[in-house]
């Protein structure tokens, strides 16, 4: 019996070493659920640091503003924690930063603040936001000395317009 226990113990110990997972798999999973805006509104410097903080038990799961209720529901599901509502969900259009090119003085401060390198330009030259890459994280707003950056919803086009869930009389009766 003792022998078996020892052998199994050794096997387990070996497996633990042999199959050691690099990094923290749970943090990776959480990070995959976060919206990757890198906005730091949660108080951590990016989505992955926030994920690590959740794993470490330092952070609640309801700190991610861009993720909204949907994102938190996913986190709650993954971690088996209680869902904490954040308020009424709104249908979100993508928000992107826009630089008023007349006002911009070319100070490059916003370029340094952008977590995803979505602002291009160089010193004393006008800057512009590549809206394809912009996550709408607002981190470029505070550093701007002339307040020339605004956040705006991307315009609705037939491409990003969505069909609504079909509503019929029966379901209205059935669900309420």
């Amino acid at each position: 019996m003792t022998g078996i226990a020892l052998i199994l113990g050794a096997a387990l110990g070996y497996a633990a070493v042999y199959f050691k997972v690099e990094g923290n798999p749970l943090a990776e999973k959480i990070s995959a659920l976060l919206p990757q805006t890198q906005c730091a509104q949660c108080g951590y410097p990016g989505c992955k640091p926030y994920a690590e903080a959740i794993v470490g038990g330092e952070a609640e799961i309801n700190l991610c503003t861009p993720g909204g209720d949907d994102g938190m529901r996913l986190l709650a599901e993954l971690l088996g924690r209680e869902f904490k509502p954040r308020g009424a969900p709104v249908e979100k259009l993508k928000i992107v930063a826009l630089i008023d090119e007349q006002t911009c003085i070319g100070c490059t401060l916003c370029i340094q603040a952008c977590p995803v390198d979505a602002i291009i330009g160089s010193a004393k030259q006008m800057h512009t936001v590549v809206s394809r890459y912009c996550t709408g994280c607002e981190l470029c707003l505070p550093p701007c000395p002339v307040d020339c950056i605004v956040l705006a919803e991307e315009p609705r086009t037939p491409q990003n317009w969505r069909w609504k869930y079909p509503a019929t009389g029966l379901k209205v009766v059935a669900w309420h």
Binding site: S31, L34, P35, Q36, T37, Q38, G46, C47, K48, K94, P115, V116, D117, A118, Y133, T135, R156, T157, P158, N160, W161, R162, W163, K164, Y165, P166, T168, G169, L170, K171
Partner: protein
């Protein structure tokens, strides 16, 4: 010729006679023409005029960008405005459009006609793009892209399987010769060895006219393709035989997988109205500035109207005398068309039909009942999907499962919803699920990209920091070496006290 059968399909009431028995009529010019910059499924055109410019009919007012097409003034007159106007789209969104106030002179500007036999292929294809020709069946895919790819067999689609619509029927009856000529030119461009013209057998006059036109082809068309390589085929009347893949299967027996284009199977398909437009553009130098629109339903004067593009739909309907009881206007046929959110929207290149709907002609749908899995939808699906399984998944917002049931193979032909005994709006559920899945895929892609860029930036900042540190260290080492050298010199000069003097300096660096 042996025809293959359409899988599934339905036979709704045709309602063709209402509009098919009067000749094509011309429409008087309205006071304003609204020409959207986006007229194809590709990039929008780039404006090349400014407000106040005088333009001639057929003059290019927006140049083609990328794979898009050029747009043209539908009448001679003045550019009054460039602004945002409602689109003919179920969303009711607006898009940028050029407004032209016609002067009533109808002065044309035409290009030099091209002879397909002598002009180069590139020249002909560029002309198709510059003339603003898109698929007129409703998909508005730019024709020059399709004309560029080589093919074995050219299908000309005159099936017109949707109920109520008769614009292709009338076009074939009245202008068969030009349709055949345009088809021959397209065969010449695509290198097709044969043309199969498919027409539903509820249009005997159109079939006869097209056969006569093939027997009596124009010389210019004969230079492109021999008459005996063109076959006009009557296909059984069954919706949706006019779908590109469905017609391909009926005429050639080729089953094209839903995720592949027909082009990959040696087949290319053009609508008869597109072939007609190609003929006008190449042989007469006329850009696409009008199209034939069927106006039918609850109106006094149903029929087919040659309408300038950009004509506000409200004005076209008003010309046809809407009867009391008209509740809404459908664009396209009753199976795949949509209710226009705004009648301010203009007639565009894909606008084949406008139907004035009343409660008698189009009764409101009955309340939705639970699905009993009766399988009616499976029997009629032309793609042999399992619509009710897709419905259960979409309704539960179980999008992965919906995708597994081949949701994206669905072409939204509406056969399933047409037969559903429980009155379930199946297509609505499919559209909802498709747009949700697409949006989620987009979001996922954006998030992945943001993560990659964030991590790359962090790595870059780290590397820069490391490089800076390394640089500083190198500089420090250099300084140290230099000072060490100086020290050595001093030391040699001052002899043995140097060793004691070096130690504090090292600490400082």
């Amino acid at each position: 010729m042996a025809l293959n059968s359409l899988r599934g399909g339905i036979e709704p009431d045709a309602h063709k006679k209402e509009s098919s028995e009067t000749p094509i009529r011309h429409v008087p010019l309205p006071s304003r023409l609204v020409v959207p910059l986006v007229q194809s499924s590709q990039e929008s055109a780039r404006t090349i005029i400014t407000v106040g410019d005088r333009v001639l009919k057929g003059q290019c007012i927006g140049e083609a960008e990328g794979a898009g097409i050029a747009i043209h003034a539908p009448a001679s007159g003045t550019v009054a405005e460039i602004g945002y106007y409602p689109m003919a789209h179920p969303s009711g969104l607006t898009s940028q459009a050029i407004v032209i106030e016609p002067d009533g002179e109808e002065h044309w500007i035409t290009y030099e006609p091209l002879d397909p036999a002598t002009a180069s292929r590139d020249e002909l294809i560029l002309r198709i793009q510059a003339s603003g020709i898109v698929g007129m069946g409703g998909a508005v895919f730019p024709s020059h892209i399709k004309a560029r790819s080589k093919t074995e067999t050219l299908l000309i689609n005159g099936a017109e399987c949707e109920p109520w619509i008769t614009c292709d029927d009338r076009l074939m009856r009245e202008r068969a010769s030009a349709v055949v000529t345009g088809s021959a030119i397209l065969a010449h461009l695509t290198g097709a060895r044969q043309i199969l013209i498919g027409i539903e057998d509820n249009k005997p006059e159109a079939i006869a006219a097209m056969r006569a036109a093939v027997c009596d082809m124009e010389p210019v068309a004969l230079k492109c393709l021999d008459a005996d390589k063109i076959t006009v085929i009557a296909v059984p009347t069954r919706y949706p035989s006019g779908g590109e893949r469905q017609l391909t299967r009926i005429l050639t027996g080729i089953e094209v997988p839903p995720d592949k284009r027909v082009t990959g199977f040696g087949v290319q398909c053009f609508n008869v109205a597109t072939a007609y437009a190609v003929c006008r553009a190449l042989l007469h130098g006329e850009s696409m500035v009008s199209r034939i629109v069927t106006v039918t339903g609850n109106v006094e004067r149903p029929g087919n109207y040659e309408t300038p593009l950009g004509m506000p739909i409200a004005e076209l309907i008003a010309l046809c005398g809407p009867k009391p009881g008209t509740t809404r206007i459908l664009m396209g046929g009753p199976m795949m068309g949509f209710t226009l959110p705004s009648l301010e929207a203009p007639v565009t290149k894909g606008c084949n039909c406008l139907i004035a709907a009343s409660a008698e002609l189009f009764p409101p749908s009955e309340p939705e009942q639970p699905c009993i899995r009766c399988g009616s939808c499976v029997n009629v699906c032309p793609i042999e999907l399992q619509p009710f399984e897709m419905y259960w998944s979409s309704r539960a917002k179980n999008f992965d499962s919906a995708r597994q049931y081949h949701l994206f193979s669905c072409m939204e032909c509406g056969c399933c919803a047409y037969v559903c005994p429980a009155h379930i709006p199946l297509v609505d559920y499919f559209r909802f699920a498709k747009s949700e899945i697409r949006a989620r895929d987009e979001e996922q892609k954006a998030a992945d990209q943001a993560r990659a860029r964030f991590e790359f930036r962090n790595a870059r900042l780290g590397r820069e920091k490391a490089e800076k540190a390394a640089r500083m260290a190198a500089k420090a080492a250099e300084t140290r070496a230099k000072s060490a050298g100086e020290a050595a010199l001093i030391a040699s000069a001052v002899d043995r006290t140097s060793a004691a003097a070096r130690t504090p300096r090292d600490r400082q660096s």
